[in-house]
Symmetry: C2
Subunit: 265 residues, 2 copies
């Protein structure tokens, strides 16, 4: 895209571009043009790294969409994240020096290579780089914490709703429309990510569509009521079975106690 320059027929980026991509304010005054990081392209379906593979480089997504997955003893995939522009890949390999997850391109991708050795050597000279790395890793950790909180506490509908909001926010941060976008992943992958089945994901999207919160056309999603999606806990009873929801919900909302929280839209 915009970042990077040609050399030997390949794209390269300097440190400032890398930091910009990561949304990390880097006041780094390095002799930029000497410190270049190479880009690599991956086509849809290609694997960037696999579980157990020897770790030696981190990746930053410059363009494209990916998924990272864990694979259990039966070969079932568990989706961990959907990295896109500005996200870092491979951090889980630092500890054991072997990648703990697998990264797969969901579209054609352009990634920036950060050889870990080179990075740490660089840190020795420019110690500000340390803080950049700490910041990125900490951010990743916080994200995963939020994910754990979501999986542990929210209903299927709330998970799907938050997933959509999260996607919208990320698209917005990338300069794309947050109101209309295309899912790059299948229902099955979304379900795996959210701890649900693909049928539940599909049904929930359909329900949101009926209520008017979103529009759904295959992989094209239109966000109509972002605010409702953000605060959604549970869906109002779809057909009939009306138990004077308004009053009851109000009463429940008022006492905002500890446990179950219903349908606060």
């Amino acid at each position: 895209m915009e970042a990077g320059r040609q050399r030997q027929g390949r794209l390269w980026s300097n440190l400032k571009e890398v930091c910009d991509l990561l949304h990390i304010p880097a006041a780094i005054s390095v002799n930029n043009e000497e410190l270049l990081f190479q880009h690599v392209q991956f086509k849809t379906g290609q694997r960037v790294h696999t579980i157990g593979q020897a770790f030696d480089t981190l990746y930053i997504v410059n363009s494209g969409f990916l998924k990272t997955v864990l694979i259990d003893e039966f070969g079932n995939e568990q989706v961990l994240s959907f990295p896109m522009k500005g996200d870092m890949l491979g951090v889980d390999g630092i500890h054991t020096r072997h990648y703990a997850s697998e990264a797969v391109a969901l579209s054609d991708c352009d990634l920036i290579l950060l050889p870990f050795k080179k990075l740490t050597a660089l840190g020795r000279v420019h110690s500000e780089l340390e803080n950049v790395m700490y910041g990125v890793m900490s951010r990743e950790l916080v994200r995963e914490q939020a994910m754990i909180g979501m999986l542990g506490a929210l209903s299927a509908e709330a998970r799907v709703a938050r997933f959509l909001v999260s996607l919208a926010d990320r698209f917005a941060a990338m300069g794309y429309s947050s109101k209309l976008f295309n899912l790059r992943m299948t229902r099955h992958e979304i379900g795996s990510y959210l701890g649900l089945t693909l049928e539940t994901v599909s049904r929930t999207l359909s329900a949101f569509n009926e209520i008017g919160l979103i529009t759904v056309d295959q992989r094209t999603i239109g966000i109509k009521d972002a605010e409702a999606l953000k605060t959604l806990r549970r869906l109002p009873p779809s057909r009939s079975r009306a138990k004077q929801t308004t009053k009851q919900q109000k009463a429940e909302a008022d006492q905002s106690g500890d446990d179950q929280v219903l349908a606060a839209v």
Copy 2:
């Protein structure tokens, strides 16, 4: 305990002791006795840090048991982890410079303070320290990934079983018995951690007890069949990667009509 020395009526540890505690092989030849980190004691129920509090120090557990929690908009706690000896606290505060979670002592605790500023300054002189930090953060990340995988894919029974095995392993790593130990947390906290209700946790423990996998007496747990607990499954989740597993799944499904549906592998 063993680590640390007295000075001004307080305990202090050097860098080597800190690294040992973290199980990180640190070939650091620093003038040890000059680089001391202070200990602090917390009593049961005390908070080490709270959400939103300004971040300035990391903590390493020298002794005692804690929990870290997220608190949602209604005041509900979501337990994220149960740190114990050798674990690091506060990493989630690096990114935003404010702690993202709350840490509470479940027993009287002895923690080592790692002022973050001091740590990064130290990294400038002793660059091996960088790798220690990266390693610890990466390990934390991998742990959380495993947690996400567990919450997303495993049944209630499998979660409780793995929780027990994980505790046993950690006690073993600390030099305690892995066959008989005391839970430091309530059923409610376990449930929150595992994305279950306290009743489900209680029932599952009772069921394991009846089957002879463990013994339960209030908070005292005896592990009788660690292997069975490790491999306990249920719910061959999704037909994501349907291979020649069809026969096996069918066989499992056939005998799943009984009351005891504990499909071990």
